[in-house]
Symmetry: C2
Subunit: 362 residues, 2 copies
DNA sequence: GCACCAAATGTAAGCGCTTACAAAATATCA
DNA sequence: TGATATTTTGTAAGCGCTTACATTTGGTGC
């Protein structure tokens, strides 16, 4: 019969017994303690062989490795994190978990970090200040060693404050004056400029514009680049040809439908991003227009599938993958002291000319 | 002068002092201990107010909440996990972090879990047995409370064994005989059947097929559904019209190019998924064919962007979101004891007829 | 053989929480 | 009012690791 304290006092040690003795159902995973016991060494030694670093004789190491194998031991990242004050994970905040743009970003960050056995903990901000802040809180709670943030709604000062706290951050896709060193961003103004200039060069003068939501920084930047190009060619920006979208296919579709409904004449349209371009093209075609014969269109982002659209979409390349990789490297360097060179903070967009734009002929 | 042990002995208590006294750089986040001290209550009480459950008087609760606020306290999920043997996280393994299909899946799982404050820890398996197993190990290491797995390469028996261990699993998109209760899958055979039958109904007889990789289970199932439909219409499956793809746009492009190069005649093609359909359409158009006039095409998956392709793609609906949600609910029910009903294990595909298929006329 | 040193191993305290149990405070009722 | 039941609070022992420091072991050179 078990001693009196046996019932109430469920320490891991007892559970160990229960599990082995009776197939008890309580969840219990092998610990470093089990390993040390089986191998006949101390906890510290087991810890040493796990972390590869310290001096352990081959004989001992072998004993430990065998014991681990035999027990199917899996170290607990949780316990390790608590003891070492390092979680070996970095928080990644993006707007949505789906969507080609964020997908590439996430994928690139993850790939870069994983090379160094760092894990990305991913959260979605849904382009909403409250949810963004909440997700950041969450990541902090998870004790990430650093944060890579693609945030659209939270104000600059919030990020500036955040940067002062214990967890290093890098802000992606946004340039904030007081913490430029923590920012990796794109020259959106130039992108907007390139798109418009391309159309102007092809002879277009009546150019419609389906922008992203106007409250977003990148929307504003692209728009002002757009205007700069127009001005350069002496074309006045016509607000009737401007329509606010949502950076999604639906928005592009609706935008084009609206633009067409107004009986404006325009020979080309630039869209705030490729997804909207896809939607806009569908709408234009529904209205009986052919692209690019009746309407030229240029997008922004150069998503993987831009070249599978019909006609293949001319667009502005957004080097997301490179930027995401850069963010990851920043973290690797500054947080994990991996000495990689970090060079660029601001990336430049490029025009990718494909088949959706035609020279203007009247 | 500080006592002798002060230098070498960096306990959190000392760091607390160092940080406050000298702005020392060591990372230190406020702990439950700081809160309890400021509020003038015990650790247990603070823990109680955090977990909302137990009996705490309003007065005390308020003191604690104030202290937390004042200190900017953020509980450590790591410490909590260690102490409670629950990480409040479930591991999600998918093939790729990018791509519209997995994006939807991930997004749906995350949304469902988040309602209950459970976090998804996401990992990629890259359709490669070794990496899949490695990722599973990783998630186990992270002490996830459950695993939701979309795995393609790891053998059935591996999963059967895994299911016996301490961490509950649910397998998505794959049906495994010995653990059907843990599986949420699609009737792929029926999907393949529906796609082919649709074409046959429209009068097509020479039907090409660009499948996914043949080693994948779903590829096989769809293919056999395809053959079943052909047989029903007395059409012989022509291996010369079959081409193995990779479920990606590139594969569809290459597949179609190859098919066309062989100078076969066929009036329609069914593609293993929408991404390949997009690639195939591009290739066909490059070869001067119009769709659907010269070639009808049907896809599989019904990705969000399928209806933005040109022409709008006819395809088979794969209810990923619903399935992902179901997997999440399974976990919520069985692991977190949230009493939601779980009904379906096998989902049925449906034909979505749009514009990429035309009645056959010779 | 012995002193000495480096390498190998062990000891034990601590990471920030949870939780069983004990103790104290308050409410309830005769 | 005091005895008892109930609610609120505190105490302290873990959770599975890391790591500073102490101790042991096994070579060296003389």
């Amino acid at each position: 019969m078990a001693p009196l304290w046996f019932d109430g006092c469920e320490t891991a040690a007892h559970i160990r017994k229960l599990v082995t003795e009776s197939g008890n159902n309580r969840r219990y995973m092998t610990t470093i303690y089990d390993v040390s016991e089986l191998a006949g060494v101390s906890l510290a030694t087991v810890s040493r062989v796990m972390n590869k670093n310290a001096n352990v004789s081959d004989k001992t190491r072998q004993k430990v490795v065998n014991a681990m194998e035999q027990l199917g031991y899996r170290p607990s990242a949780i316990a390790k994190g608590l003891a070492s004050n390092r979680s070996s994970s970095v928080g990644v905040l993006i707007s949505e978990l789906h969507g080609p743009f964020y997908g590439s970003m996430m994928s690139a960050v993850e790939a870069e970090l994983r090379k160094f056995d760092i894990h990305a903990i991913i959260a979605a901000g849904h382009s909403n200040a409250e949810k963004e802040a909440e997700s950041i809180e969450f990541l902090l709670t998870r004790r990430c060693d650093a944060l890579i943030l693609w945030v659209e709604s939270v104000p600059d000062r919030y990020l500036v404050e955040l940067a002062k706290r214990d967890t290093p951050i890098v802000v992606l896709g946004r340039k904030i004056a007081k913490i430029t060193k923590n920012c990796v961003s794109l020259n959106n103004e130039e992108g907007g400029y390139l798109a418009a200039r391309y159309l102007l060069e092809q002879g277009h003068r009546k150019i419609a514009y389906i922008s992203g939501p106007l409250w977003k920084g990148d929307t504003q930047d692209r728009l002002s680049g757009h205007k700069r190009a127009l001005a350069e060619y002496g074309v006045k920006f016509n607000t009737k040809l401007h329509c606010e979208g949502d950076y999604r296919e639906e928005g592009g579709f609706r935008g084009m439908t609206e633009l067409l409904g107004l009986r404006n004449t325009f020979s080309a349209v630039v869209c705030g991003n490729d997804e909207m371009a896809a939607g806009a093209m569908t709408s234009a075609r529904d209205a009986g227009l052919s692209i690019p014969e009746d309407l030229s269109v240029v997008g922004f982002d150069n998503l993987v599938y831009a070249r599978y659209l019909y006609p293949k979409l001319s667009t502005i390349n957004y080097p997301v993958r490179e930027m995401a990789q850069m963010a990851a490297r920043w973290v690797l360097k500054h947080v994990y002291k991996n000495q990689r060179l970090v060079a660029t903070n601001i990336f430049e967009p490029e025009l990718v000319a494909r088949d959706s734009v035609q020279q203007f002929r009247r």
